[in-house]
Each structure stands twice: as C-alpha cells, then as structure tokens.
C-alpha cells in the first residue's frame, strides 16, 4: 500500500470515530504532534506539583493539608499515566524528561506564576484546574486511543480538584476581612493566567487546523475559553468576589459573556521563559532528578544483584 492510500485509510478511520491505536499506521506528523502535546501535558502535571507543593507544609489545618497532599499526589499519578501513554508512540520517559530539563519541551505556562498566599491554592483548584478540565473533557474524545482513555480517567479526579479549590475560596469568602482580601488577591493574580491557558486566539494558533482535522483537538481555543468565562462568571457570584476584568458583560446577541483583551505580550514572555518562576520551576525539577540519580542507580544495581543470586540458586 502506498503512502497516499494509507493516509486515506487513516483519515477514514478518524472520520468514522474509530480510535487510532499504538500499532496502527499513522502519519509521522500525527505521531509527532501527539508526542509534543501529550508529553507537554505530562510535564504540566509534574511541574504543576511545585506551586501547590509550596503550601503543603503551611496548610492551615490538618484536613486541608491532607486534601492538598492527596491532590498533588493525584497529579504525580496523572503525570506517570501520561508519560506511559506517550511511550506508546515510541519515545521513552527518559527522553521526555531530558527534553523538559533542557528546555526543549514545554509545559503549561500558568505554573510559572508564584503561589503567594493560601488562597492561591483555592484559585489554582478553581480556575487553573477548571480551565484544564475544559480542555481535558474535550480531549476525552481525541482520536488517539491511549490519550483518550488517559483523559477519561484523569477527568474524574480533576473535577474533585476543582471542587476542593472552590471550597477553599468559598470558606475564605465567608471568613474574616483578611481572608476575603486573600481570596480576592488570589483571583486578581490567577484570572488572566488561567484565561491564557487556552492558548492564542484561533486566528493565531499554529497547530490548530491540522489537529482539528485529525481530531486530536475537538474544540478550538476560543470556544473553550468562552465556555470557561461563561462558567466562571456564574460561579464567582456564589463567592461574592470579583473577576478582575471590567469588560466582562453579558452579550444578549451572542448568548455569551464578552471579555476584555488578553495581554499576549505577557503570555509570550512567560512561554519564552521570562515568567516569574520559569527558572525556579525547572531548577527544582532538575535538582530532584539529579539528587535522585544515585538512588535510581542503586535500585538498578540491587535488582541486578538479586537476579544474579536467583540464577545461581
């Protein structure tokens, strides 16, 4: 079968909503796009542990500490799961981690912002996980089987994450003036970075068209962003807090909320490594990895010794 015929069959499979599985033929660009997107997703889970980890040791109650730890542990699990799913495309976890540490692979830029007060943990859960869920729910129907199944599993846990975040903010919004101020401060700082999580406007997005045809992407950046805005405006009323966008307004004609302009200059600066915490995040990952090298080597050496002994016995 020649390349063209293979490509036609591949597209027909996608059009018929039949999942592509690891052993199926796929165009190299499809494979590369998935490796890029899925490893980026895995890295986001892992780097995303750091801003929240910043508050584990200072969580205000035992219950909050336990919930936060459990949530971060889920993220480590998601990372592990996504790395494994990506490995089905013929790349190793080691290669992916090297790419992250060497700055060749990206992760969600939102994790380059600092967590400055306890309410940030609430804002991350509500807004950042909320934005991630929008994206991930759409990805449950993505055309690559292992990715789709990973998303189905991950989405179940993410909705718990979002609820715990909202619950933190809800509690603060009913607390003292200081607590309300904490919550508002967190929203002020996390709203726009969360809006940027959906990526550039559809008109500016470089990967979108092909990804949509291959059904890797099921909803456009702007569609997802609009869903997020519409949901958030409803939910923030319950909190009695204000989203930091004076242009938020119901548009009767569109049946959606309008929102103000996004600062794309800031977005690109952070993507390109000039955000508040880019260097610290990668440095922390590298340090954990480098410090762990002797541990991983010892585990391998021990396993080999054990095996040799078993062979002798």
């Amino acid at each position: 079968m020649d390349e063209k015929e293979l490509l036609n069959r591949f597209q027909a499979q996608i059009d018929a909503e039949i999942k592509i599985e690891p052993k199926d033929w796929m165009p190299d660009a499809y494979r590369q796009t998935l490796i890029r997107q899925m490893s980026q997703h895995a890295h986001s889970e892992i780097v995303g542990m750091l801003p929240e980890g910043n508050w584990v040791t200072r969580a205000p109650t035992l219950k909050r500490k336990a919930i936060l730890l459990a949530k971060i542990q889920d993220e480590a699990g998601h990372g592990l799961y996504l790395y494994s799913a990506t490995e089905t495309l013929g790349i190793s976890r080691q290669e992916m981690i090297d790419a992250l540490h060497e700055g060749r692979a990206k992760y969600s830029s939102v994790f380059n912002y600092p967590t400055l007060n306890w309410a940030d943990i609430g804002a991350i859960g509500w807004l950042v996980d909320g934005a991630a869920i929008m994206n991930q729910v759409a990805l449950m129907r993505t055309s690559y089987g292992p990715y789709s199944r990973a998303m189905i599993r991950i989405c179940k846990e993410e909705s718990f994450h979002q609820r715990q975040g909202f619950d933190i903010l809800y509690t603060l919004s009913r607390g003292s003036d200081e607590q309300k101020a904490m919550a508002q401060d967190a929203l002020n700082r996390w709203w726009w970075p969360s809006m940027m999580m959906f990526g550039p406007h559809d008109s500016e997005s470089t990967h979108s068209q092909q990804s949509t045809k291959w059904k890797i992407k099921r909803k456009s950046n702007d569609e997802l962003r609009q869903d997020f805005v519409d949901n958030s405006v409803q939910q923030v009323k319950v909190l009695g807090l204000t989203l930091p966008d004076p242009d938020l307004k119901w548009n009767e004609e569109r049946q959606h909320y309008d929102y103000g302009p996004i600062d794309w200059e800031e977005f690109w600066a952070v993507v390109k490594g000039r955000g508040p915490c880019n260097r610290e995040r990668i440095a922390a990952r590298k340090k954990a990895y480098d410090d762990g090298e002797w541990v991983r080597e010892a585990a391998l050496a021990y396993a080999k010794k054990k095996k040799a002994k078993e062979v002798l016995a």
Binding site: I46, M49, L50, G53, V56, T57, R58, A59, P60, T61, L62, K63, R64, K65, A66, L69, A70, I72, Q73, A76, G77, G79, L80, Y83, W118, I168, T171, L172, R174, G175, S176, E178, Q179, A284, K287, A288, D291, G292, E293, W294, V295, R296, E297, A298, A299, A301, Y302, K305
Partner: protein, 247 residues
C-alpha cells in the same frame, strides 16, 4: 494522663508526616514521590484520629487543629528521631525504617489496649504501617546493598541517626502507670524484638551499627533538637498569623 499519652502518639505521626510532606514534588523519581506522599498522608490521617480522641479528653476542649498547631514547642512529645531533617534520601529512608519497625510493634501492642478507642485506632493504623514498613525496609536493603555510593550514604545516615533510636524504648512515668492499667504498651519490652528485626535488615543491607550505642533523648519530655522549632514555625504559620478563623 491518657490525654498526654495520646498526644505523644499523635505527635510522632504528625511531625514525621510534616517532614515527609516537605518532599512532595521533590522525590528521586515519580514512583517514590507518590509513595512518600502516601506515607505522609497515612500519618496525617493517624494523627488526626489521635488528636480527635485527645480532644475529647482535653480539659480545654481543644479540637484537632488547636492541638496540632497551637502548642508551644516544649509541649510536643514526639521522638527526636522523627524531627530530624531530610538531609538526603538515605536519611529519609533510614529514619522511616527505624521508626516503622517501632511503630509497627507499638501499634500491634495497642490493638490489645483496654482502651477500646485506642485499640480501634491502632487496628486501623496498623494496616497502613505494615505497608510503610515494607517500603522502608526494601529501600534500606536496596540502598545499603546497591552501589558503593548508596552504601556510603546509607552508612552515613545510620551513623547520624542511630543515636536517636534508643529514645523509642524509654518509658515515661505516665506510660508506667498506663501500662499497669493495661492501656499503654510497655516500650521497654519492645526493644528485643525491634533490635532483632533491625539487626537482621541492617546485616542484609551490609550496614554496620556505629559504636557508642544510643544516647540522645529528650523529645518525650519536650526537650527537642534545634530542628523542631523551624518545622513548627512553618507548620504553625497560618494558625499563628491568623488566629481563630475557619479555613
């Protein structure tokens, strides 16, 4: 009296959980990151059960968070061992192993306590501690008998931590009375079994017990190492900075 005894049990779980939680996101590999977080979570859960029970007996009617976060340093009754810092993964693993062997025996004994609530907490916790012990023991073996580097690091950790092990078997006056009443475990009696297990593991791990025995204690009396103050400053920060609020 029972109140103080329960606090002592709770403090050990809490302080070790806090130490382990510092590693969340910084483990040597994702799998170990998850495992350490898991142990930390279990220990927080155990400490909560104990603090809640202590709260019921407390004359001041403090809740779990007031007990966990709002006591001065000298009122914490945890062992010096569990407050020792995470110098490297070898120290983390060895601290965990020495404590897990003890925690396992102690909870096993407590399942027979005449105090039913304590016995119930011990039964539940014991299931978790069995898993902790399996994890820490396996890592002592792997690292002790792994590479030359890992062996050296583990021997260093053992040299640093061994002197804190003896405190686990020191009986306080309160414990003495509660042992008589059939409520507390006699920690002195746990020592031979503990030592036998530990010696056998260390031997298999090709590690040597340092000379000079064990001689550091004080945690059970509220006299701690310099490390605890910093741990508490961080852990208590929110409750101290914003008192009497709901979170």
């Amino acid at each position: 009296m029972l109140f103080e005894y329960i606090l002592q049990l709770a403090d050990n779980q809490l302080i070790l959980a806090q130490r382990l939680s510092e590693l969340c996101g910084h483990g040597p590999a994702l799998e170990q990151d998850i495992a350490i977080t898991n142990i930390s979570l279990d220990l927080i859960g155990q400490s909560r059960l104990l603090f809640q029970y202590a709260g019921k007996l407390d004359e001041q009617h403090r809740n779990e968070d007031q007990l966990a976060f709002l006591r001065p340093e000298k009122e914490y009754r945890n062992l010096l061992l569990v407050e020792q810092p995470n110098r490297d993964f070898a120290h983390v693993v060895l601290r965990q192993y020495l404590f897990d062997e003890f925690n396992f025996l102690n909870y096993s004994g407590l399942t027979n306590s005449k105090d039913e609530e304590l016995a119930a907490i011990a039964t539940k916790s014991l299931m978790e501690v069995k898993y902790h012990l399996r994890f820490s023991k396996n890592w002592v073996l792997r690292l002790g008998d792994g590479t030359a580097i890992s062996h050296r690091k583990m021997q260093d950790a053992l040299n640093n931590l061994w002197m804190y092990a003896g405190e686990m078997f020191e009986k306080t006056a309160i414990e003495r009375d509660l042992v008589k009443a059939g409520i507390a475990v006699d920690v002195e009696q746990l020592m031979p079994t503990w030592k036998e297990s530990v010696m056998s593991t260390l031997k298999e791990a090709t590690l040597n017990i340092p000379e000079g025995g064990w001689y550091q204690s004080g945690g059970k009396k509220g006299v701690h190492s310099e490390h605890l103050g910093h741990l508490l400053a961080e852990m208590q920060f929110m409750q101290r900075a914003y008192p009497n609020l709901t979170w």
